[in-house]
């Protein structure tokens, strides 16, 4: 216990913050993406320390398994992954700093406002089954809306990826699969 924080919490927080700093400061874009993955893993560990198994595992499944892969794919398919020729510090750094400080202030204000007045008792035990039941009963409408949104996104992606001209004649003469 240091400053009332457990050693495991301090280690995972250092890992998370270090990953985030590396993601912002490293020059090679793929290194940045990989450091961001370390941050995702650190966040998952923090969730697991709070006994939020479902949130922690979902964080790993979605962010490390899908989002990180998407990021590296996007980097590789667009600009290449070498060290960029231009300088890392652009001229609009002041605006970036102001926006970052503003967002930090907003989040800090929100966190401070939502702090409980008294020290919370034992954390509530939430099982995966309870989460599932809640999603299927009281939160079924948001769940359905998200499902529709994702389906629309999926169909949109397929339409974007489809070849522009669907000429039936050339299709049948060429044969073969696409």
């Amino acid at each position: 216990m240091i400053f009332g924080l457990s050693i495991i919490f301090i280690l995972t927080s250092i890992l998370t913050v270090a990953g985030a700093l590396a993601a912002a400061l490293l020059k090679n874009l793929v290194h940045c993406a990989l450091s961001l993955t370390v941050t995702f893993a650190g966040l998952a560990l923090l969730y697991l320390q709070l006994d939020a198994q479902f949130a922690g595992f979902s964080q790993i499944l979605v962010y490390i398994g899908a989002v990180a892969i998407l990021v590296v794919f996007a980097i590789l398919l667009t600009r290449g992954s070498g060290i960029p020729e231009y300088r890392n510090f652009s001229t609009s750094w002041f605006a970036g700093l102001a926006i970052a400080a503003g967002i930090f202030a907003l989040l800090a204000w929100a966190v401070l406002k939502s702090l409980p007045t008294s020290v919370a008792s034992a954390a509530p035990q939430v099982t995966v089954q309870q989460i599932g039941l809640a999603l299927m009963s009281s939160y079924v409408l948001p769940l359905e809306i998200v499902a529709v949104l994702l389906t629309v996104a999926l169909i949109g992606a397929v339409i974007v990826a489809m070849p522009e001209s669907r000429d039936p004649k050339s299709n049948s003469t060429q044969g073969g699969a696409e």
């Binding site: 090679n28 198994q53 479902f54 595992f57 790993i60 892969i69 992954s81 995966v128 699969a177 696409e178």
Partner: protein
């Protein structure tokens, strides 16, 4: 009779008793930690042991299938071959390409092996034999499995080699595509059990009707789910016929082209361990885990059943590798999105119908008929649109 039943019970729990016996030598407050360390050591020792056995089995088996002898020089019938292989890979020079990204190149095999070993934590290998009984055990396994994709990308990208990068891109695309049917086909077992805990899934299958077991594979939705799961598992572990990422005839060796010495051995180990863990989960989800296949065989220890089933699964994978030709990239993707995904989604509906149709023979008829009709129709439609001719290229002509 009483003595013999006690003997079989003790034999069933022999590893658990051994763990408690060793724990007894340590002070009370240290015992949980020691117990965990012992279980981890057992996992880290047992599965690489099976890996060594599998390399010989695979090389001998493929040799038989391809009408040649296979390794037969080291030890009697060549069974000491893995020791020779291990010494060779330990003593070989570790070559890192000059332009490679040294740090990422080093980390990739390490991340892969760590992630794969973590997956064994929630695998029940026997009665009371699971490292951690997580409430969301299955989710943990899939989350860990998803993070191995990143290590494959790291290996391919950091090598600065066209073949490595192409292999890694293929591997990641394939693993992401087949992860969807893999997850969806395992959801049916979760739906019927009502729990994500691997231990509870095995317990739900432990009953018997007469002498026949209540394994999920013996139901229509369970059979369809099992077949879909095994196909997706083959693709997820880059095994033949889905071994495009390392197709040696086109990509040298795919993402580990630039690895040598022990790092290459780590990739090899990681791939085989991933195969064991995913086969172990197929057994847990559909084949009754550590349960005996007939009620009269219940006296044989639970761990023996698990490892016997695992070995049978490995032999099946080796047999498939020796039999089937490799798929083409477009066939692979078509198969994943046009056949596996609709079938696994339909299987979810069928499992729901099974749950609500109540006991009786009607649910057997309805569920089997729906799955069979869908299978035939999907096959017909797919084959109808599959113009099997020369490949047409969109960009490379």
């Amino acid at each position: 009779m009483k003595i013999s039943s006690a003997f079989w019970t003790n034999l069933d729990q022999v590893f658990v008793l051994l763990q408690h016996w060793i724990e007894g030598f340590f002070p009370q407050w240290l015992q949980p930690a020691i117990g965990t360390v012992l279980a981890v050591v057992a996992i880290v020792a047992a599965f690489p042991g099976i890996f060594a056995l599998t390399t010989v089995l695979e090389r001998k088996g493929l040799g038989r299938i391809q009408n040649r002898l296979g390794p037969n020089r080291v030890g009697p019938l060549g069974i000491l071959q893995p020791i020779a292989d291990g010494i060779k890979s330990l003593t070989k020079e570790d070559i890192v390409p000059l332009t490679a990204d040294a740090a990422v190149h080093f980390l990739a095999p390490v991340v892969l092996v760590i992630a794969v070993f973590l997956g064994f934590a929630v695998l029940p290998v026997g009665r009371n034999m699971v490292l951690v009984n997580l409430d969301a055990g299955l989710l943990f396994f899939f989350a860990i499995g998803a993070s191995t994709e990143l290590s494959i990308f790291m290996a391919g990208w950091s090598s600065r080699n066209k073949y490595s990068l192409l292999g890694a891109m293929r591997a990641v695309a394939q693993m992401i595509s087949y992860e969807v049917p893999l997850l969806l086909s395992s959801v049916v077992a979760v739906m019927i059990t009502g729990s994500l805990s691997t231990v509870k899934i095995v317990e739900a299958q432990s009953g018997f009707t007469g002498i026949l077991p209540h394994w999920y594979v013996f139901t229509p939705w369970g059979f369809a789910g099992f077949v879909l799961f095994v196909i997706a598992a083959l693709a997820e572990t880059n095994r033949s016929p889905f071994d495009l990422p390392e197709g040696e005839s086109e990509l040298v060796a795919g993402y580990f082209t630039e690895y040598s010495g022990f790092k290459f051995a780590l990739f090899f180990l990681g791939e085989y361990l991933a195969m064991f863990s995913i086969a172990g989960f197929a057994i847990t989800l559909f084949l009754g885990g550590w349960g005996a296949p007939l009620s009269i065989l219940g006296f044989i220890p639970s761990w023996a059943w698990f490892f016997a089933k695992l070995l049978a699964g490995i032999l099946f994978f080796i047999w498939l590798r020796g039999t089937l030709p490799r798929l083409r990239q477009d066939q692979l993707m078509n198969f994943a999105w046009k056949f596996m995904l609709p079938m696994s989604l339909l299987n979810l509906l069928v499992a729901g119908a099974w749950r609500f149709l109540g006991d009786g023979w009607s649910r057997w008829v309805v569920c089997s008929a729906v799955l069979l009709v869908a299978y035939v129709l999907l096959g017909r439609v797919l084959m109808h649109h599959q113009h099997l001719g020369a490949r047409s290229y969109r960009y490379a002509e």
